[in-house]
Amino acid sequence: MEIIKVENLSRRFNKFLAVDSISFSVQEGEIFGFLGPNGAGKTTTINILCTLLKPTSGNAYVSCCDTTKEPNKVRSQIGIVFQDPSLDDRLTAEDNLRFHGRLYHLGSEEINKRIPEVLNLVELYDRKNDFVRKFSGGMKRRLEIARGLMHRPKILFLDEPTLGLDPQTRAHIWDYILKMRKETNLTIFMTTHYMQEADVCDKAAIIDHGKIADLDTPLNLKSKYNEQTLEGVFLKITGREIRSQAGESAWSQWMRRT
């Protein structure tokens, strides 16, 4: 069953076309990877899918609902880990999770059960009463992941979820996400710059300059472009020039600040 469907989706910022008439669909239970260089339009697409941004033209359906016509139905089905920080650092870790649970209509019993579960997952349980502003960059990131999973979404959007995390934590979090997918048929839509992570995708779209350059299984992509790794495929399709963009620098700024 198609759980995300995107038709001729475009988004313009003033004159600049950030997403250029893309179409694709994601099956329920699939891990769908969005790979592309900085400024390719990945975050813009995610923002449209999760109802934060209106498309300039085209349609996006998430869990059968039009993202512009029934945004609240879409919102109740999804969880999201944003690329940029989105915690309230003037509250404690537990406050943040409790706040989230209530916004997603969890009962207090469920909230009390889920808080230790997700905090243990990211190994922050003993820091639950600390203010988030005292956390390191990686700890904040882990807390955001815990929060995105807390309400057991049907579809999880991960925008560079493991950026800034050490390898152990990254592996740990992926183990959990994959386990959750097996148990609950979770659908995952993710962007990443770690090509090893992209290998877990069932389907990967290579996006560049707002357009989808190719979309297939990682295996097919590798054989089609005659490369050993997704990294090779990626470089072959998008070229080798470096594009520095706002998203990346905002994150590293944030990491430096914290």
Binding site: C50, T51, L52, L53, K54, N72, K73, R75, S76, I78, I80, F82, D84, P85, S86, L87, D88, D89, R90, L91, D95, F99, H100, R102, L103, Y104, H105, F131, R147
Partner: protein, 247 residues
Amino acid sequence: MSDILAIYVLWLRDIKHYWYDKIRIFASLGQPLLILFVLGTALTPTLQGGVSFSKYIFPGVISMTVLFTSIFSAISIVWDREFGFLKEVLVAPISRWSIVAGKALGGSTVAVMQGAIMLFMAPLVGVELNLLIIVKSILAMFIIALAMNSLGIVIAARMKEMEGFQMVVNFIIMPLFFLSGALFPTDKLPQWLLLLNRFDPLTYGVDLLRKTIIGISNFHSIINIGVLLVFTLIMFSIAVFEFNISE
């Protein structure tokens, strides 16, 4: 039902911020206290009905506290946008009006608490309080706070960066405050200033509070309350509209 819960959660967040940040509670009382005691002592004419100046401006200074706290807490939406937390709220399955209502009620509650601290300075300027006056004043402060919070949210929804904050202070908060008659009687104002005064929603808040605390007023309380509620309703609707048209 889920809207009520969302309003409660957003309200609670503002209360927690207030509670965790005790320094701010005291810091933001400095300015009104300064005005009350310095101005109140330096300018000592006796006004209509033998009321001392400091007694006369006391309700105005409380209004000032409510105004400033209200606008500041509404403007914190701009911080939330800058630090990303607003996304967490906007992507949640809650109605947009409940976001505005939660923010308005949270900010208003904080403003009333700050106003109440000022209210209890009453004996220092020779104003006598009783339970009825306290209850009525708190209600009046709440009506003022709702109006000013709704205005603040409308401003915050349009403000993309914190840079614009100084503009808001200079061109909105200060005129609202000085034109409201919080610090002077309005009966001897020239025509043009009187006109501006009548267009300032805070005028009716100050008048309402002055009537409640020291029994002096220009308008009937019903008019004051009516103007403030209508203003709140208009600002609230604009704010909800602005939150609905996410870019």
